[in-house]
Amino acid sequence: MHSPNSGMQFVPGKIVRNEAHGEIFYRLEVSVPAPMEFVPGQFAMVSGWPGNDPLLPRPLALFHSRSVPKGKHTVEFVYKVVGRGTALLSGMHPGEPLAMTMPLGRGFDLGKGGRMYWLVGGGVGFSSVFPAAAALAWKKADFEIFLGSRTRRHLPPKELTPVGPAPGLVHLCTEDGTAGYFGRVTDAVRERIKSLTIASASRLTILACGPREMLKDLAQAAEACGAQMQAALENHMACGFGVCWGCVVALRDGEGTAHRRVCKEGPVFDAREVVW
């Protein structure tokens, strides 16, 4: 996985906008002192709500960064309110300060030419999948996007599409059939794998972010057909930059397993290394 962690900084920012999009997502744009480069899949630890409760910063995938030549530099996040931290975040307003440590972790490896990429985002997982799509589009790589959610209204709203020259083929999947494929996104992927030749399956790399069950299922599907897969994992984090050792997961290491930090060696791991 690609690792440009050297540029990590503690950045004081100011909220430019923080608005609800669709039913469950918020888009947060924060102005920062200098342009922020990142690899899709990398993230920031975000804090700034008043008081010490919740205490810890929250990890959010870097969704987009904008840099107007002589103007403002901003970074963008897309998030879903699931608990107190994200609820507090959603209550913050333009002009308020926000601190970010970023860019963090290892993002997706988009390096190899000649491969075919399937980008799979479950739920808010599209927040790290779209930046990958944008990057692949710039590279004119061969890619398709699969987006899964419970229902239509939980799919990413139109205005949050990946930025890039070519949108890529997008497959929508809803568990209740209210939009696109009727069923789980993993089933959609499995069905499409069936139509692949063995040769093209061996060219396939799945880049996925979403619930653990989804990732596990995809990893099995990828393994079975000889495709590669990079999975963006999640875990509770205290620091986000590798010093607390709180975010480890067990990864295969020779015969046994080793504890690897999601924030440092991840969040993107080769799916075969993960102990699902």
Partner: protein
């Protein structure tokens, strides 16, 4: 006039009283992207054991009200790799650093102490005397004056470096325990380590930590830490290093006010990797503002 920030910890003089707490600052080098780590009074590195350790299974941290529980289980690279890989880089960075050591038995403590003692650039050894998995009848060394005394004496005789004993707050009488450490030859005591706590999920009916219990740190514990530091400062004449919930210069000054000679910043590093530097600069600004010539004019001046 620039106030004098330097402080003495027994025979060791450090450039300022702001240190990083063990386990919250990695091996120090991880913070080089944020600031020049040689600016700190000292860096106390992640707890070192004789052999590398994998630590506890995942489910290692839980957030609590104004605090966090951790049960990392002392995952670390072991003393050998520390000496070979980390020390040269800390030396290159010009950092003042302290080895926090830990063993499953007194013999292991002694062995780790012996190994790090040969490092010329090492400033001191901090003995983590609050490990839950030790011989002596399942009780922590740190819970009884006798245990602390024996452990301190043992490490003391195996090294020429200053020995700091890091005390557990999970005790009835911290003053007596600190006295035991002082009596057995400690050059300083550091306190507090984490309070033992627990978190469960009332729906899944499971503990949130794989280890069931963990150590509570952060602003939530500051009042307890401050009280214990105050108590210990009145009991022992060796320097006391204050730890627990320090996030701002004001917090650090509170510990100095009740008598601490230096402070360590722990959990605050996670939310704000610049915390130590902001605290250092804040202390200096405060001393200027109050027209104090140095830390020594402020330390221990709490009135009633």
């Amino acid at each position: 006039m620039k106030p004098d920030l330097s402080v003495s910890l027994g025979s060791l003089r450090v450039k300022n009283p702001v240190m990083s707490a063990s386990g919250t600052f990695g091996y120090g080098l991880e913070f080089s992207p944020f600031f020049d780590i040689s600016r700190l009074g000292a860096i106390v590195v992640k707890g070192l054991s004789l052999e590398p350790s994998k630590g506890n299974p995942p489910g290692r941290i839980v957030e609590t009200a104004s605090g966090m529980l951790n049960a990392i289980g002392l995952q670390n690279i072991g003393v050998e790799r520390f000496v070979a890989d980390v020390v040269p880089r800390l030396e290159d960075a010009g950092a003042t650093y302290v080895a926090n050591i830990y063993g499953r038995t007194p013999e292991e403590y002694e062995e780790v102490a012996r190994r790090v003692s040969s490092i010329r650039s090492l400033a001191a050894i901090e003995v983590n005397a609050s490990c839950p998995n030790v011989k002596e009848g399942g009780m922590a060394f740190g819970a009884t004056p006798e245990g602390v005394s024996r452990l301190t004496a043992r490490v003391r005789q195996s090294t020429d470096k200053p020995v700091w004993v890091k005390l557990s707050p999970n005790v009835s009488d911290i003053g007596t325990i600190a006295s035991a450490a002082a009596g057995a030859g400690a050059d300083a005591v550091s306190l507090i380590n984490t309070l033992v706590g627990m978190a469960v999920d009332h729906r899944t009916r499971r503990p949130k930590l794989s280890n069931v219990t963990g150590g509570l740190s952060g602003p939530a514990i500051k009042p307890v830490a401050l009280r214990m530091v105050w108590e210990v400062c009145r009991r022992v004449s060796i320097p006391v290093i204050g730890i627990g919930g320090i996030q701002t210069a004001a917090d650090a000054l509170e510990f100095l006010l009740v008598g601490a000679s230096a402070v360590q910043v722990g959990t605050a590093n996670f939310r704000n990797p610049m915390a130590c530097i902001e605290i250092l600069e804040g202390i200096e600004a405060f001393l200027r503002e109050e027209r104090l010539t140095g830390i020594s004019e402020y330390r221990g001046t709490l009135s009633r």
